[in-house]
C-alpha cells in the first residue's frame, strides 16, 4: 500500500514536471504578436514624425511596447467571474452546508453528553444497588449466626436430655437388675433351705432311725436351719 502510494506520488511529480512548461505558453505566441502589433501601430499613429524615420519619443513608445503590462493591474473579467464564484460558495456554504454540518456536530455533542449522563446515572444506580446487596448480605450473615447459635443451644439441650434420660434408664436397669438378683437369691435360699432340710431329715432319720417321730424331727431341723440362716446373714 505504501509502495503504491509512493509510486503514485512519484508519478505525480514526474507528471507535474512534464506539465509545468505549459503555463509558459499560456497566452500563446499569437496573442502576444497581436498585442505587439497593435501597440506598434498605435505608436506609429501617435507619432507622425516616425514615418520620417526619426523622433526619440517614438523610439520610447516602441520600447514601451516590449515591456510587460503590470501584474498588479487586475483583469475585470477575472474579478467578475472570481467574485461570482466566491459569492456562490459563500451563499451555498453559509446558508445550507454549514448549518447542516453544525447540526450534525451538535447532534453528536448532545448524544455524547446524554450518553455520559446516562452512564453516570447507571453507575450511581449500580452503586446504590451494590450497597443494598452488601447490607442484605450483612443481614443474612447475622441471621445465619443467630440460627447457628440457636441450633447449637438446641443441640446442647437435646444432648443434655438424652444423657439425662440415658442415665435414668441406666439407673432403672441397674435397680431392676439388683431386684432380680435379690429375688433370685431369695428363691435360691428358699430352694436351698428346702433341700438342706430334706437332706438333713433324710440324714437324721438314717442316724437316729426311729428315735424321734417325724414331726418332732421336722420342728427340730427347722429351728436349727433358722438359727443357721440368721447366723449366715
Amino acid at each position: 500500500m505504501r509502495i503504491r502510494r509512493l509510486l503514485l506520488g512519484a508519478l505525480l511529480v514526474v507528471g507535474s514536471v512534464a506539465a509545468l512548461p505549459t503555463p509558459a505558453h499560456a497566452a500563446g505566441a499569437k496573442d502576444h504578436a497581436k498585442k505587439l502589433y497593435a501597440c506598434v501601430q498605435k505608436a506609429v499613429e501617435e507619432h507622425p514624425e516616425a514615418k520620417k524615420g526619426e523622433g526619440e519619443e517614438f523610439e520610447n513608445a516602441l520600447e514601451d511596447c516590449k515591456k510587460a503590462a503590470s501584474l498588479l493591474i487586475p483583469a475585470l473579467p477575472e474579478i467578475l467571474w472570481g467574485g461570482l464564484a466566491f459569492v456562490i460558495v459563500l451563499i451555498v456554504l453559509t446558508k445550507f452546508a454549514f448549518p447542516a454540518l453544525k447540526k450534525g456536530l451538535k447532534a453528536r455533542e448532545d448524544k455524547i453528553r446524554e450518553d455520559l449522563e446516562a452512564a453516570s446515572r447507571a453507575r450511581e444506580e449500580a452503586e446504590a444497588e451494590s450497597a443494598q446487596y452488601r447490607s442484605a448480605i450483612g443481614d443474612a450473615r447475622s441471621e445465619a449466626n443467630t440460627i447457628l447459635e440457636e441450633a447449637r443451644a438446641d443441640a446442647e439441650r437435646v444432648r443434655r436430655d438424652v444423657v439425662a434420660r440415658a442415665e435414668s434408664e441406666a439407673a432403672e436397669i441397674r435397680e431392676r437388675a439388683q431386684e432380680d438378683i435379690r429375688l433370685a437369691q431369695e428363691r435360691a435360699m428358699a430352694d436351698l433351705r428346702a433341700q438342706v432340710a430334706d437332706l438333713s431329715i433324710g440324714l437324721a432319720e438314717k442316724v437316729v432311725e426311729r428315735n424321734l417321730d417325724r414331726d418332732t424331727q421336722r420342728a427340730l431341723i427347722d429351728s436349727y436351719i433358722d438359727s443357721v440362716g440368721s447366723g449366715s446373714r
Binding site: V17, A19, A68, E78, F86, F96
Partner: protein, 258 residues
C-alpha cells in the same frame, strides 16, 4: 534571466486565452474556470460532509468536520473569542476557497494558482475590507468610524499626526496589503516553480549546447520537487493568514479600543 531568454515578457506566465468571449468584459478564461471548480469542490466537500451525519464520522464527513472545527478553533475563536463562533461559516468559506484556489499551483497538469492573478486577491480583500467596516458599524454604530482611528491615550496635538496615519493604515492600506500579500506569495511561488521547471527542461530535454548539461539537470529537478512541497505549505499558510487577518480586523471593528 532564464525567463527573459525564453519568454517575451513575464505576463506569458500569467495570462490565459479566453475560453469564452475572448477580449470582452465577460471573458471566461482558465482563472475563472479554476475559481468555479474551487467553488464546486468546496460545496461538494461540505455538502457531502455536512449532510451525511453519521454518528462516527469517516471519510469526507471527517475531513469536512475536522476542517470546519479547525477554522473555528484556530481562526474564529483564536482571533475573536466566543463572539467568533457565529463568524466561523464566513471564515471557513474564505479559508477553504482560498486554499482550493491556491492549491492549483501544485496540481499536476494545471499548476497555476488563480490567486496569482491580482483580480482574485483584490476581490477577496475587498470582501474582507467591506466586511470589517460593515461589522464595525453594526457592532459600534456610527461612532465606529472615528473610534477606530482615534486610539485612546494619545495627547491632543499628537492626534493631528496619529489620526491621519490610523485612517490611512486602517481604511486604505489594509485591503491593499491583504491583496498584495496573497497575490505576491502565490505569484512568486509560481514563478519559482516555472523557473525550476524551465531549467530542468533546458538541461535535461532541450540540451541546446550538448550532453554536458545533463549532469546538472538533477539539481533544478530536485529544487522543483522541494519547491512543489514548499508551495503546498504556502497555499495553506496564505489561506490561513488571509483569513485570520480578516478575523483580527473584524474583531477590532467589533470592539472599540479602550
Amino acid at each position: 534571466m532564464v525567463l527573459a531568454e525564453l519568454l517575451p515578457n513575464i505576463n506569458e506566465l500569467f495570462e490565459w486565452k479566453g475560453l469564452v468571449g475572448p477580449h470582452t468584459w465577460y471573458e471566461f478564461n482558465k482563472v475563472s474556470l479554476m475559481a468555479f471548480v474551487s467553488t464546486i469542490i468546496c460545496i461538494a466537500l461540505f455538502w457531502i460532509g455536512g449532510t451525511r451525519r453519521r454518528l462516527v464520522p469517516s471519510g469526507v464527513q471527517n475531513v469536512a468536520e475536522a476542517g470546519y472545527l479547525a477554522v473555528e478553533d484556530n481562526i474564529a475563536l483564536a482571533a475573536m473569542g466566543e463572539e467568533g463562533r457565529k463568524w466561523t461559516p464566513f471564515f471557513a468559506t474564505m479559508f477553504f476557497w482560498i486554499f482550493f484556489i491556491n492549491i492549483w499551483s501544485v496540481v499536476p497538469f494545471v499548476q497555476f494558482p488563480a490567486t496569482s492573478r491580482f483580480a482574485i486577491p483584490l476581490f477577496l480583500a475587498l470582501v474582507s475590507w467591506l466586511t470589517f467596516i460593515i461589522a464595525g458599524f453594526v457592532y459600534q454604530g456610527p461612532k465606529y468610524f472615528f473610534s477606530n482611528i482615534n486610539p485612546p491615550g494619545v495627547p491632543g496635538p499628537m492626534k493631528i499626526i496619529v489620526i491621519p496615519i490610523e485612517f490611512f493604515s486602517k481604511y486604505l492600506v489594509r485591503p491593499f496589503s491583504l491583496a498584495v500579500r496573497l497575490f505576491a506569495n502565490m505569484t512568486a511561488g509560481h514563478v519559482l516553480l516555472a523557473i525550476f521547471a524551465i531549467m530542468t527542461n533546458e538541461l535535461a530535454i532541450s540540451r541546446n549546447s550538448g550532453t554536458f548539461q545533463l549532469i546538472f539537470a538533477p539539481l533544478p529537478f530536485l529544487g522543483l520537487i522541494a519547491f512543489t512541497a514548499f508551495e503546498l505549505l504556502v497555499a495553506v499558510l496564505q489561506a490561513f493568514i488571509f483569513t485570520i487577518l480578516t478575523a483580527v480586523y473584524i474583531n477590532e471593528s467589533a470592539h472599540a479600543e479602550h
